[in-house]
């Protein structure tokens, strides 16, 4: 039954897509009138509506026939920015050059993007409509389909071109709103022209494959006084993620709790009677961890929200004075560091743009990866997709190691994780911005 539902929606969706490209608004009305007149005029003895039907059929057929004569010769090239953001309009330029040597008018362009329709497996796996939904919704799976399609379909409308003189060239600005993070692939461009009555668009599709990286959606994050203090970073900033040591002496300073004994400047101690330590350049600085829970069986709204929350922190927490490690598990355990000359926020955002759910590993993998680095970390921001027992233990372990943590749990109110301990904040999908603002 679900398969029938899926194929029905798939075919319906294809038909709607085709009609939205081919029919102008006026053409849509004419087509609707054509169908209505066909129904009402089924018996030519009982109604004259069949006369309206024959006229409308003739009108549509002629409009389509005129469209067959449309053979544009154009050179089209997009100029795309390097990045975009999911859910945010992405402006770009399209350069068009006329090659046929004739004046071209009433042209428009449509972007050819990847098919946003979900696979049957994704459709079947998606949560069913609630019992409170309408009967049609439950029977046809409308909201389920729409939710999956809207997650994939980037909004791109008709790009109207001005009149193009013979062999002329110009640039038009276009805009697309990417639906999701990751790589947005532009497959081609369809050049369209209406028939003289304005009902039917003739299309000429050409391949023009380009892509742009879409960064995760980000939310405003309040200025957080991140917990933790400076930690010794072996090798300093430049080598903090590589091997080797930096021993460049900068100055002397008073001993502070936590300073290793081997840094004590014995001569100064002897001279002044108090503990003085040597300070080396870039040895001690704040290094935060941004830990992302990726353990989901399939892409979901909660997973996307978790990535967005992580991206929001990655984009805003970075300072000139600290490092930020992004830790997550994908095909393997990853740790990407940014800050203090090791790359900016965009580096982490690029990584986050490509994060996929990890279905074949368990939370233990992430736990090991983080605990292994706990001595380097001044504090952690942990983004979780639930707060079950393994995750509770993980947070308790981090805190036991003296790593202060801010924990953000992305979960629906019905998740049933029970009361959350101090320092653990629940963020509800759809109300993430409000939740972050309350931090």
């Amino acid at each position: 039954m679900d398969r029938l539902r899926y194929h029905g929606r798939r075919a319906g969706s294809a038909l709607l897509h085709w009609a939205s490209r081919r029919l102008t608004p006026a053409g849509g009305f004419v087509f609707a009138a054509l169908v209505a007149s066909a129904v009402l005029g089924i018996d030519t003895n009982e109604s004259m509506a069949y006369q309206a039907f024959t006229f409308l059929v003739a009108l549509m057929a002629l409009s389509m026939f005129v469209g067959l004569l449309f053979r544009p010769r154009l050179e089209i090239r997009r100029t795309l920015p390097r990045f975009g953001t999911a859910g945010q309009p992405l402006p770009y330029l399209i350069g068009v050059k006329e090659l046929s040597g004739r004046l071209q008018q009433d042209l428009s362009l449509f972007e050819e993007l990847d098919d946003p329709r979900p696979s049957f497996a994704a459709f079947h796996r998606a949560p069913r409509a609630a019992r409170s939904a309408s009967l049609a919704d439950r029977a046809l799976g409308l909201s389920r389909w729409n939710a999956l399609v809207s997650r994939e379909r980037s909004a791109s409308g008709e790009i109207v071109l001005p009149a193009l003189s013979a062999m002329g060239r110009f640039e038009v600005s276009a805009q697309i709103t990417p639906a999701r993070r990751g790589r947005l692939i532009f497959r081609g461009l369809a050049v369209a022209r209406c028939d003289p009555v304005g009902l039917w668009r003739a299309l000429s599709v050409r391949r023009e494959e380009q892509s742009v990286l879409i960064l995760p959606r980000r939310y405003p994050v309040p200025r957080l006084a991140l917990p933790g203090r400076r930690r010794y970073q072996q090798g300093g900033v430049a080598l903090s993620s590589a091997v080797g040591e930096s021993q460049e002496f900068v100055s002397l300073r008073d001993y502070r709790a936590g300073d290793p004994l081997r840094r004590v400047h014995w001569k100064s101690w002897a001279r002044t009677g108090k503990l003085i330590v040597k300070e080396h350049q870039d040895e001690h600085f704040v290094r935060h961890g941004l830990i992302l829970d990726t353990f989901a069986s399939a892409p979901s709204e909660i997973f996307e929200e978790a990535v967005s929350v992580a991206a929001s922190f990655a984009a805003s927490v970075l300072t000139q004075e600290s490092l930020l490690d992004l830790l997550f598990v994908g095909a393997q355990s990853y740790c990407c560091t940014a800050g203090r000359g090791l790359g900016g926020a965009e580096k982490l955002l690029e990584v986050l743009a490509g994060v996929q759910p990890c279905a074949d590993k368990n939370f233990e993998e992430l736990r090991c990866s983080v605990v292994r680095r706990h001595t380097d970390l001044s504090g952690c921001i942990v983004v979780l997709m639930g707060f079950d027992e393994p995750r509770r233990r993980f947070i308790a372990e981090l805190r036991a190691h003296g790593v202060p943590t801010i924990v953000l749990v992305i979960a629906s109110p019905a998740a049933g994780d029970g009361p959350l301990p101090e320092g653990v904040h629940r963020l509800t999908p759809g109300k993430i911005a409000e939740g972050l603002a309350r931090l």
């Binding site: 009982e46 006229f55 059929v57 057929a61 409170s132």
Partner: protein, 669 residues
């Protein structure tokens, strides 16, 4: 308004002109186009749009009931379509005079009336209304070129704005004119095509329960092998006059020429019957006997047309309101413009058959069978001068040597099925018996015709009448003897039992439904009594009231559902009265930790935080949050959440017994 000025007015005037409702169309046009003359607009909420849409729906429903009660099904549909601009005028007027200028989606789809996130979609209904006006004008079915011309001009007018700005007017006009010309040619072709289809393959469209309506020919199953399948569907209801038996056979049509398993009426010219002075009366002939039989027959007519089943010797038809009733020379009576259910009376005199006298064709034999039939007639010693004796001999011949069967075995019936039936198989259904009887008598020089109709044999389970099923369809002979045409049925009397043996086990259920439909149809198509014209209006009023009551019930149910949603499973006088938080609250109240009058739950929790251990209050917060959703969230709680609220409240009470909390409170300094 999004249409060009006066376009909608023109469409409405066109509609009024075509449907004869011009006086109605003019004020409607004035109402809609009047919005251009005034800047007054009313702010309408989605709820108000919904009410106006409901009004239109009720108006439409009343029109549907009225149309269906006063017209045949097809005419009712066409009338409803014609009235559509009228029934949806309030909604369009609301749109054009509203500040919003568009109709909220909830007014169009009941399922979209619930609150939704983000802006609510709204639609401009002006162009759909324009389309409705034009197509409704077509439903008036005024057969003149005015419709095409008017529709074409309105289409051009409406499409003027859609023309792409830079395209030349010439190409726009040329394309529209070409479409107009093509469409005009096409509409002629389409109409002709329907006529061709109806004339050639129309019989394919006949449903299983339809009475045959072709008085010109009768296809028989002679020569076909396998089992003849018949339907149990009731097609006729016959009520004999009190104390009298029903007419055993009801004739629909007679045929005089046989060829290749098919009977034809050689001359099928229908002549109108003269109506009698009393309403619904039609004279077939002049009654000769004073003691004539009478019966009432009810039969469904497709689109008010059909061939009436009548007893042989019918002299007059009564209580049949129809536009025209005509009869051919072979006795078939055709009705046109009749009701959906013809419920008529018939008077008949078996000795007074007004069919055309026998002619040469009534002795005609198929050339291939002529020698065999002549030989058999000789063997039976059929004498044309003694037709009664000949009939008796033929009846005896069939009774003694033949048996009834709906099954024809493959290989036994060959290229000459009649010869095979008479000489070899000697088993078959009524068409074999009737055909061979006619041909045998003709071979003996006695004029005979083939008759199709129904046999009246089954009393109704529901009332004092007889029902006739499709499987009671029968064929017999009409023999001219002693100057009179008389029915002559040689099919063995076991045929009815044989047919009934194969009846479906669901037959009683189906009969009950048929009876209900029959009673309703009889009421619906009943002619008003003289002076009792109020009856139908009263019924209409009752129906309208029922419709309104149904609508009101739905509204109340819908409001109730919303209230339930707002408060979850409402059991008492306010939503969420059954929430376990109240149990918990009462338990705490007993320990003097209860909520004060007018104290909000959050305030109560804050106060409790100073009185009981912090973890107890923290554990209580999620319970209160769930309760608040149960109490105030329009979407309520899901089943799992409702169970969670119960579980959480109970586990909190188990973990923090009120008495223990009370003791801790008391022990605080």
């Amino acid at each position: 308004m999004s249409t060009p000025p006066l376009l909608l007015a023109a469409a409405l005037i066109f509609w009024g002109q075509q449907t004869g409702m011009l006086l109605l169309a003019l004020p409607m046009a004035l109402i809609l186009e009047g919005c251009r003359l005034t800047a007054w607009r009313s702010p309408l909420t989605p709820g108000q749009f919904n009410r106006i849409s409901d009004l239109c729906t009720v108006l439409f429903a009343v029109l549907v009931v009225y149309a269906y009660s006063t017209r045949t099904a097809t005419a009712a549909i066409m009338a409803i379509i014609q009235w559509m601009p009228l029934s949806y005028l309030p909604l369009l007027a609301a749109q054009v005079y509203s500040v919003e200028g568009k109709v909220d989606i909830g007014a169009l789809f009941m399922s979209r009336r619930r609150p939704m996130e983000g802006p609510r979609p709204a639609f401009d209904l002006v162009y759909p209304y324009f389309i409705i006006c034009v197509l409704s004008a077509g439903a008036a079915n005024v057969r003149s070129p005015v419709f095409y011309g008017g529709m074409f001009l309105l289409a051009i007018w409406s499409l003027r704005r859609a023309r792409p700005g830079r395209r030349p007017v010439f190409s726009w006009a040329a394309l529209l004119l070409a479409a107009g010309a093509l469409g005009y040619v096409g509409q002629n072709g389409l109409h002709s095509l329907q006529s061709v289809v109806e004339n050639t393959g129309g019989w394919l469209l006949l449903g299983s329960g339809e009475l045959p309506t072709d008085p010109n020919s009768a296809h028989t199953a002679i020569g076909k092998i396998g089992r003849l399948k018949q339907s149990d569907e009731i097609v006729l209801n016959v009520q004999p006059s009190p104390g009298a038996p029903p007419p055993p056979l009801l004739r629909q049509a007679s045929f005089d020429h046989y060829n290749a398993a098919q009977w034809f009426a050689s001359v099928a010219d229908f002549r109108p019957l003269s109506p009698l002075p009393q309403a619904g009366g039609w004279a077939i002939g002049v009654p000769r006997e004073t003691n004539s039989g009478a019966a009432s027959i009810s039969v469904y007519l497709r689109n008010g047309k059909g061939i009436l089943p009548l007893p042989t010797g019918a002299v007059r038809i009564e209580r049949l309101s129809a536009g025209a009733v005509a009869r051919n020379r072979l006795g078939a009576v055709r009705v046109e413009d009749g009701p959906g259910l013809a419920d008529y009376g018939v008077r008949f005199e078996p000795a007074s058959v007004f069919d055309a006298p026998p002619g040469k064709i009534d002795l005609d034999l198929p050339p291939a069978e002529r020698p065999m039939l002549a030989r058999l007639a000789r063997e039976l010693k059929l004498n044309p001068k003694r037709p009664q004796e000949a009939k008796a001999a033929v009846a005896l011949f069939f009774e003694n040597n033949f048996r009834y069967s709906l099954y024809q075995e493959a290989g036994k019936i060959g290229a000459r099925p009649l010869a095979d039936f008479l000489l070899k198989t000697r088993s078959g259904h009524c068409e074999y018996f009737a055909t061979t009887t006619v041909l045998l008598l003709r071979a003996a020089g006695i004029p005979a015709r083939y008759v199709t109709g129904y046999s009246v044999i089954e009393p109704s389970r529901m009332e004092h009448s007889f029902v006739v099923r499709q499987r009671h369809g029968h064929a017999w002979a009409l023999v001219y003897a002693d100057g009179v045409w008389r029915d002559f049925d040689t099919t063995p009397s076991t045929w009815a039992a044989e047919e009934a043996r194969r009846a479906s086990s669901f037959e009683p259920v189906r009969d009950l439904l048929s009876w209900v439909l029959f009673r309703f149809s009889r009421w619906r198509w009943k002619e008003p009594e003289p002076g009792g014209g109020q009856g139908r209006a009263r019924w209409l009023f009752v129906l309208a009231l029922l419709g309104l009551a149904w609508k009101l019930t739905r509204e109340l149910k819908s409001a109730g559902a919303l209230t339930r949603k707002a408060g979850g499973a409402q059991k008492g006088s306010f939503p969420a009265e059954d929430s376990e938080l109240y149990v918990l609250e009462r338990a705490l109240a007993e320990a003097e930790l209860g909520r004060r009058s007018c104290e909000a739950l959050s305030e109560w929790l804050d106060r409790l935080a100073g009185l009981v251990p912090r973890e107890a209050v923290d554990a209580l917060r999620p319970v209160v949050a769930l309760h608040n959703r149960y109490r105030f969230d329009p979407n309520g709680l899901s089943g799992a959440e409702r169970r969670e609220l119960k579980r959480a409240a109970e586990s909190w009470l188990a973990r923090y017994p009120a008495q223990r909390l009370s003791m801790r409170t008391a022990s605080r300094p």
